[in-house]
């Protein structure tokens, strides 16, 4: 087998909290991400799945150091073994760590796309490079002269990806690159990220479409109410009983090919997240012990945050 691949990104016990006013005078701390851990290795594509409000985008923003001013980050994020401080993030972002944002609103509405791809640089070599990148993604030369409002949804995604490959990134964070796209175009967009990973960079794919994630990624991290419940190989999603957490199994059963059945209940908001297992209120296996903190542990080649895994859940 391959020798152990180098870890590009390693996130340990990340938590992100927001301080905000409650009423006129009282400060409130809202824990949006709680105890989240994951890592991305070279040439690997890790998908982070979860419904909206589970903290996916915040995760991306924490790695880049672009959280809002009232947010506090705790826990450890390291890049090639080196702790990512705010200063280090500032040095790396846009060069070694790049973000591919989710929608056209991340492009300056009054700037031609070509200029945006090359970050406003006007020199000839940057221009040539940007034209190459456009060509690479099947976009016409002329696209560089269009404004964002003149682009179609699929073109916008490709422009956004183009911004990432202008540099030689080691880590690409893709924040929801597929919503609103026709399934064929979505697959094509994801295949571009797969190519980036196959060329050796790490890709952290933030996505809410589990089916697509399973198709393209190597590993899947399942997020729920700001924390991760499971980390599985993409191949684990071929069979329900290879999955480790009741929530992941519920997600599996909700996939169109596997019964399309929705579990009752909804994901709790950060302010009324239960102590202990966040999924406990909806879990059919819930026990007394689930109401205390649950450890995120290694299990059958993946990770799980459930005391029942390997016990009653088989």
């Amino acid at each position: 087998m391959l020798e152990e691949r180098k870890k590009i990104l390693s996130i340990k016990n990340l938590s992100v909290s927001f301080s905000q006013y409650e009423g006129a005078f009282r400060w409130k701390n809202l824990l949006a991400i709680k105890d989240l851990s994951l890592d991305v290795k070279e040439g690997e594509m890790v998908a982070v799945v979860g419904s909206s409000g589970s903290g996916k985008s915040l995760l991306a923003h924490s790695v880049l150091g672009i959280l809002p001013y009232n947010a506090t980050r705790n826990g450890e994020i390291s890049f090639y073994g080196e702790t990512l401080t705010e200063k280090r993030m500032r040095e790396l972002r846009g060069k070694e760590i790049v973000l591919v944002p989710q929608s056209v609103s991340y492009l300056d509405p009054l700037m031609k796309t070509g200029l945006q791809i090359r970050k406003g640089k006007k020199d000839e070599s940057s221009r040539q490079k940007s034209l190459e990148v456009l060509k690479c993604y099947g976009l016409e030369r002329d696209t560089e002269n269009l404004y964002p409002f003149e682009l179609s949804g699929g073109m916008i995604r490709r422009i956004l990806i183009s911004t990432a490959v202008m540099e030689q990134p080691r880590l690409v964070i893709a924040d929801e690159p597929t919503p609103g796209l026709h399934i064929d175009i979505a697959r094509r967009v994801l295949s571009h990220f797969r190519e980036i990973a196959d060329e050796g960079a790490g890709v952290l794919l933030i996505i809410h479409d589990l089916e697509l994630a399973v198709e393209v990624a190597d590993r899947i991290v399942v997020l729920y109410a700001g924390t991760n419940l499971e980390e599985a190989r993409a191949s684990d999603f071929l069979e329900e009983n290879r999955l480790r957490h009741p929530y992941t199994r519920a997600l599996y059963r909700a996939m169109p090919d596997n019964g399309f059945s929705a579990e009752p209940g909804t994901q709790p908001y950060a302010e009324n997240r239960p102590d202990g297992c966040t999924y406990a209120p909806r879990c059919e296996y819930v026990q007394e012990k689930c109401l205390k903190e649950v450890e995120y542990r290694n299990f059958q080649g993946g990770m799980v945050r459930c005391i029942m895994a390997g016990g009653e859940i088989r």
């Binding site: 923003h61 880049l64 672009i66 500032r90 972002r93 846009g94 060069k95 790049v98 973000l99 944002p101 929608s103 609103s105 991340y106 492009l107 300056d108 509405p109 009054l110 700037m111 970050k119 406003g120 404004y147 409002f149 003149e150 911004t163």
Partner: protein, 330 residues
Amino acid sequence: MRKEFLFILKNFVRMAILMFLVSIVAFFLVSVSPIDPLKVNVGQTALGSMSQEQIEKLSQYWGTSISPVRRYLSWAGDFIRGDMGVSLLYRQPVSRVIGVKLSNSLLMLGISWLISGIVGFSLGILAGANRGKRLDKGISAYALITASTPAFWLALVFLMLFGVWLKILPIGLSVPIGTEAAEVTIRDRILHGILPVLTLSITGISSMILHTREKMLEVMESDYVLFAKARGETGTQIVLGHGIRNILLPALTLQFASISEIIGGSVLVEQVFSYPGIGQAAVTAGLGGDVPLLLGIAVISAAIVFTGNFTANILYGIVDPRIRKARNNI
């Protein structure tokens, strides 16, 4: 080509309608005003010592004995033919009075307009880009204080400070008193213009700051600025590359719309500084019942303000690609 022609024609018609309505409203207001031009201009005592015949003549001259509708129609008829009538107070053609007064005001108004626009825009960007920091607080405080300061009061304060106490600037008028017109130097003109310009700029700056700052905050919180940050662009790069690009348009609109404010403000400021400009002429005409002059000034000011807004409209199409391309595609 035909499209452009239609566009201009449409706006020309709009302007004509606006001028017509403005003249009607102005005329209506003058005719219901309680000011009796005879009493004001001739004086109560003089009027009392005059014979009935003399009073009759005067009343003919001031038009007080003719019905308002007929007066308006005869004015409007002449105006359409290009004759703005004769000012009753200055005893000169209205067009010449307006020409002289406007040329006195125009430079002063133009400079204040430019200063308040450029300074306000720059300070607004600085404040917006440094949200919550001391610089922002200082600039915002300045803008809020000057926004709530009446222009005429500020004019009086400046007058006292620079004209009376420090005696470094003249207290009024646009040229030195008792100097022949030929001997008035440019330096004299500038010295006399400083205080009015200062007053008008300071009050004009504040609204520009507050609006620009607000727009800048919006831009700074936008997704595309967040993305720019994620791509390693620095604060300065973001402000210069994305900030100005995106707030220039609303700022331009505001700047051209503010022409009306500058003209309105000039009335008060010129009054305080006895500056013989268009604003002061408007006050004199209004208080003295000089209907032709007042209507002339009202209509010309309306035309200037309209042109300002119209220019903003055209610039929009030039600066904003979304509008430019939409117009080309229609």
